[in-house]
Symmetry: C3
Subunit: 337 residues, 3 copies
């Protein structure tokens, strides 16, 4: 696919600087721009690359324009315009309606005639799949699952009985939605399983990463609101509730009954304990450990970065003796009264 | 399904307080009790909710009974009775024996006639599947796998060659049992793979979470004893041995040859190094790091919770200077001798 | 399979000490050697076991030989020789060429006649599979995937469109190669998805663990070089580049555009932030957190091990007051000037 720069300006709503006739046929990284490509700079740290780029055009803010002899799209949000341009030049494949003869679909399942169901996917009784859905090979949709319109399941996704997925949502390969929550109660001499009776409800415009697992609720449902973006290898527990437009990066794990507000940003490798509530607009640095609720918006952290190992051993030695160090300070203070 | 409160008392062995004729048709959360529902309170912190509940009945301890005008089941363990009631009201589906015509089963595999094997599941040569097993779509049982009676495999579970699973065990979707352990030895100019010749043996009444992986032993087997409960996204390494009735929460990772005792509770996100041995009745707080063996029962921790990020930066600055702080204390002590 | 000790010496290039006629038919652990077995000791800590072993032969260094009355293979690298012996005694199964009638293969896919493709595996249009490959059941190879020669995919592996895998590489069950990277840009009132246009390129002699996910690049590819060994439950982000012969242990997660050098060793549960670059020959202790690039080879650490919980609470109390402790030291110093 190719466009003139003027066409890209028009379609993305960006301003145009320089010749609009230039043909653009691909996006590139700022360090790797070739003729025909368009690149972007959103951070003033990188404006120095602008004058040396071989790209045919750049996407920048108006403020950067005076530094730049290359034809440009001007915008307050270069990365967003770049994303739109990338999508124009690399449009998503049109979903061609098709039911593979190697898909196994229950007689009473309702699959919209515009949907695509690929080989070795199993759709059980009572399932509905909306218009324009695309379900890759190897997926399993258990009984009574409901999938909205325009939703994409990549290969080998599992959705458990009765779970609901909204519209225009993307589930990546290996994701497991609706496994039992981790609920057991000790009863004399063994654990008794607490029945996990709820479901999982996933909203619209959600993205869920590869090999991520989201457990069904124990009583009531686990809920992922509209616009939430969840990375790979993530664990959501039973009855968690993730607010709109919150993002969660890889390897983050939530225990049960955790409530995360809207517009939060959870870094990778974060751990959150049972019943914790986090208000809107909280940013958690990667690897954070959260055992208590957070009621004030803001950024939170609590993780030690690596240092050279011998230095770390000395520091760690003192951490283990902090109690004693504090006593020694106290003793000195008494002497110095 | 519905029962009278008297029937529930009889079937669960709980005491009865108030009218036994009340009809109960569902369980509910203490904050969400409606007519027909039964709720439970196990923690005295929540007894204040008892007087306002709209639930038709409650499950409480005898001690709480004087606060409570609602018909009640009385027990020392309200959560266990609640679990039993939940299961009575929501019985597990009966396993209907069936071999899907879309399952692929080796001629010499032995599948009990009371088992259920669903579509696109592949059962290889020499496998045996016991009475009453239910194997969901998309599972793969490699050669010579043995599955006991009453065991449930949810969709897309993989069990590697020769692994053994006991009775009444549950494996959730995406679990991988019996991949090769991570064993390599540097040999001149590249790593040589150490053959992983062992297997995985999983006991009875075990539960294994979604997208969890348990590696086969290098020499000898990886062993998960009876009654162990393992959450999602967990990694067990080669030759690990998990003792009876130990629970392991999400994202916890064990290196190789780790031995965990009986009745331990491992929180989420815990990491345990190679060859570590942990005795019985150890509780590890979530996110714990264990590099050395633990020989005494008890609770262990070592993780820093999040604080507001500017506060954390100040703390972290001092952590990095602990060595110097300790020297300054030493210098003061010398002056104050 | 069985060999005489002399045959094993010859095939592995090890020296021979004692009778070469002894028949060896299995490998064993040093503590569990029985007649017919061969064991190894590479660490002088374990030489004390040599005199009591019931194994028929041992693999040791020349230095250990004087302590040892048992017939032996002598080598500088006992673990490597042991691995070779284990493979001789337990040879990998020969790949028997076969296309399961239950595999679903696009007409224009090129599958080498010596490859083995098992049931319920789906191979889409434009895919090529090299000589001697073995693809287990339940795998999905999306359009235009290229797999080299001698590569092994265990069950339920997913490889996304256009990804490339080299020769003699092993992918374990549940691995997902080529899901979209986690790229979004906030645009007025919601996140806009950044198209993930790159691919994943995996080299030769690589091993990738169970339920690991490796995302495709955003622009340009995610790259795993030859000889890299990646454990289970790992996350590589878009445009990461892992250098030759680097090993990565379980649950380690890399954000996007991370570059790891050659011959690095990343422990388990490590987290690495966006755009971090790590030079060659770096060792990261398990659970390390790396937010900044590492330019010097060496070993790095920064994680607190568990202690008994009451002791930890006291330490943690002081950590939270480090800022104040430092002020108290400062005040004492002023008094003592």
């Amino acid at each position: 696919m190719q466009y003139t720069l003027a066409e890209l300006a028009e379609k993305t709503g960006a301003g145009l600087s320089g010749s609009g006739d230039i043909i653009i046929d691909r996006v590139a990284d700022i360090n790797d721009g070739q003729q025909g490509s368009i690149v972007f700079v959103s951070n003033s740290k990188y404006t120095r690359f602008l004058k040396d780029t071989n790209a045919s055009a750049v996407i920048i803010t108006e403020k950067m324009a005076h530094n730049c002899g290359t034809p440009a799209l001007l915008t307050d949000n270069p990365r967003a315009v770049f994303s739109r341009v990338a999508l124009l030049l690399n449009p998503l494949p049109v979903v061609e309606p098709w039911i593979s003869p190697h898909a196994v679909i229950a007689d009473d399942a309702e699959v919209d005639s515009s949907a695509r169901i690929e080989a070795c996917t199993v759709i059980q009784s009572g399932v509905s799949v909306g218009a324009g859905c695309w379900i890759s090979p190897g997926c399993v949709l258990e009984k009574n699952v409901k999938i909205g319109a325009g939703t994409r399941l990549f290969a080998n996704v599992t959705i458990g009985e009765g779970c609901v997925v909204g519209n225009n949502t993307i589930l990546h390969s290996g994701a497991v939605i609706g496994a039992d929550g981790f609920g057991f109660v000790w009863d004399k001499d063994a654990y008794l399983k607490v029945p996990q009776l709820g479901s999982v409800r996933i909203g619209n415009d959600v993205e869920i990463g590869a090999n991520t697992s989201i457990d069904r609720g124990a009583i009531g449902d686990t809920i992922v609101d509209d616009g939430v973006k969840i990375d790979n290898q993530i664990q959501l527990g039973h009855n968690d509730h993730i607010g709109e437009h919150t993002t969660i990066s890889g390897h983050t794990g939530l225990s049960g009954s955790v409530k995360i507000g809207k517009n939060c940003v959870l870094g990778g490798g974060v751990g959150i304990g049972d019943n914790v509530e986090i208000t809107d607009n909280v940013v958690l640095a990667g690897r954070s450990n959260v055992a208590k609720s957070i009621t004030e918006p803001g950024m939170y952290a609590g993780v030690i970065p690596v240092v050279e190992v011998r230095k770390w051993r000395r520091i760690l030695g003192w951490i283990k003796q902090l109690d004693e160090l504090a006593k020694r300070i106290k003793a000195l203070e008494l002497k110095n009264k």
